[in-house]
Amino acid sequence: MNFTNSDVKISIQDVYKSFGNNHVLRGAFLEIKKGESMVVIGGSGTGKSVLIKCVIGLLKPEKGEIYIDGQEVASLKEGDLNEIRKKFGMLFQWGALFDSMRVWENVSFGLRQHTRLKDTEIKDIVIEKLKLVGLRNVENLMPSELSGGMRKRVSLARAIAMEPEILLYDEPTTGLDPIMADVINELIIHLREKIKVTSIAITHDMVSAYKIADRIAMLYKGEIIEVGTPEGIRNSKNEIVQQFIQGRAEGPITREQ
């Protein structure tokens, strides 16, 4: 095992997770290098969300290990997990903004919980992060007043407010029109270059996957069946991968899994 290798930021080793009789992850292996943008593709309901929720400790795997910077996290208790989570930022599929709070309160949530910064400093950081995601003069709006694309961008601003080392994107482009989806793609690339984060994105949007990925991993039946560069995946000899990336109804992937 090469999880001690300092180049590896996140290492997922033989992870199993099931819900009742539904065995979602059945021995998933994946390693993500420092500063790398990994995209996990796979059909709806194949456990992509479950995989990243295991990485950030929202779900506990039944078996297997997950290492963040060489530290095993799957067996940690809630209190220690909280410390690890400070390394993370996560963009949820529908934003998951706190709907009882204004935009600036959402973005500054982590700062207000975990730092002793003054209000004026917090305000400056909020404005800076919102600018980074391309938003201006929205600080005092409520989440309900925002469009879908704006919500996602505010959520992204909230995820990067604490300057995390790792960003997790849960279907970053789902539910957006193609232009807004591309705006989010550009933002993800921009963030990677600007703040040098390691990231895992899960998606079934292949346009987005090719655009933002350094490497792509395909999850099928609870296992990672192939990992490669976007070019490598495009030329994959695996029939399952080919069927998925071309979006064909006919092929080895059947509807029920």
Partner: protein, 256 residues
């Protein structure tokens, strides 16, 4: 027959399991209360929501309960010439029993449902997961303030209900039924012991804890979108009301 036993058995196991989970949530909440810092701003906001905004409901409930108690016990007591004891009955019933129980039921309907719906919505829209990812424990951030607020506020609301209930009984007795105010007053205070009031307040405190924990538990365990939120809300009110009535009997039996 076997099938019937199986169904009963599964239901029973589920009930035991769920009770266990509620108890675990209760213990976790207690632990988080003693881990500083306490979020005073959230607690005060909840006290306003649970306490101050419940005052009108509690006052109306208390007043009419006292009034109807006076009417009913007057009718009964008159039959054997004991109508001067209406004041005693009103005071004892309200402080020992009806004040805390009816306040509890009203608060579970008004506040328990709101808590379950709010937390349930947060659950299904992943806002609770988002709290975890922001390295914030949702029990500490969401449940502890609600638990403390409800536990602190319920006894206070009950005292309000007691006072207004006794006043309501007095008004009906003196102004409608024509009782002698001096005798009524004396009958009220002569037999009322501090212990009666304490036992009511103790009940109210327990009811406050029940409402908060049951409703927050339902909210946190909501599944399946808008209809799930609806189910969680209903369950929160029904279960906390039932638990209040059950707990009420056992506390009374213990303190008898």
């Amino acid at each position: 027959m076997l099938r019937l036993l199986e169904i009963i058995g599964t239901k029973f196991l589920k009930l035991v399991e769920e009770s266990g989970r509620v108890a675990i949530l209760f213990l976790k909440t207690l632990l988080w209360i003693f881990r500083p810092p306490l979020n005073l701003r959230n607690i005060l906001a909840q006290i306003e929501e649970v306490g101050i905004n419940s005052i009108p409901v509690i006052l109306i409930t208390g007043a009419f309960t006292g009034m109807v108690l006076a009417l009913q016990s007057y009718t009964g007591f008159k039959r054997f010439g004991a109508e001067t004891f209406v004041g005693t009955v009103v005071a004892l019933s309200i402080t020992r029993e009806l004040g805390p129980v009816l306040s509890g039921l009203m608060v579970s309907g008004r506040v328990g449902s709101a808590m379950a719906a709010e937390l349930g919505t947060m659950q299904v829209t992943e806002q609770i997961d988002a709290l975890y990812t922001l390295a914030t424990n949702p029990i500490k951030y969401l449940i502890v303030p609600r638990f403390l607020a409800t536990t602190i506020v319920m006894p206070i609301l009950t005292v309000f209900a007691d006072i207004i209930g006794i006043i309501g009984g007095y008004m009906v007795s003196v102004y409608i039924l024509g009782s002698n105010p001096t005798i009524y007053e004396r009958r009220t205070w002569d037999f009322l012991k501090l212990n009666d009031i304490y036992s009511g307040i103790l009940k109210a405190t327990v009811f406050g804890m029940i409402i908060a924990i049951v409703s927050c538990y339902q909210g946190f365990n909501t599944e399946g979108g808008a209809s799930g939120v609806g189910r969680a809300t209903t369950k929160a009110v029904v279960l906390s009301s039932l638990m209040i009535l059950i707990a009420n009997y056992f506390i009374t039996a213990l303190m008898f």
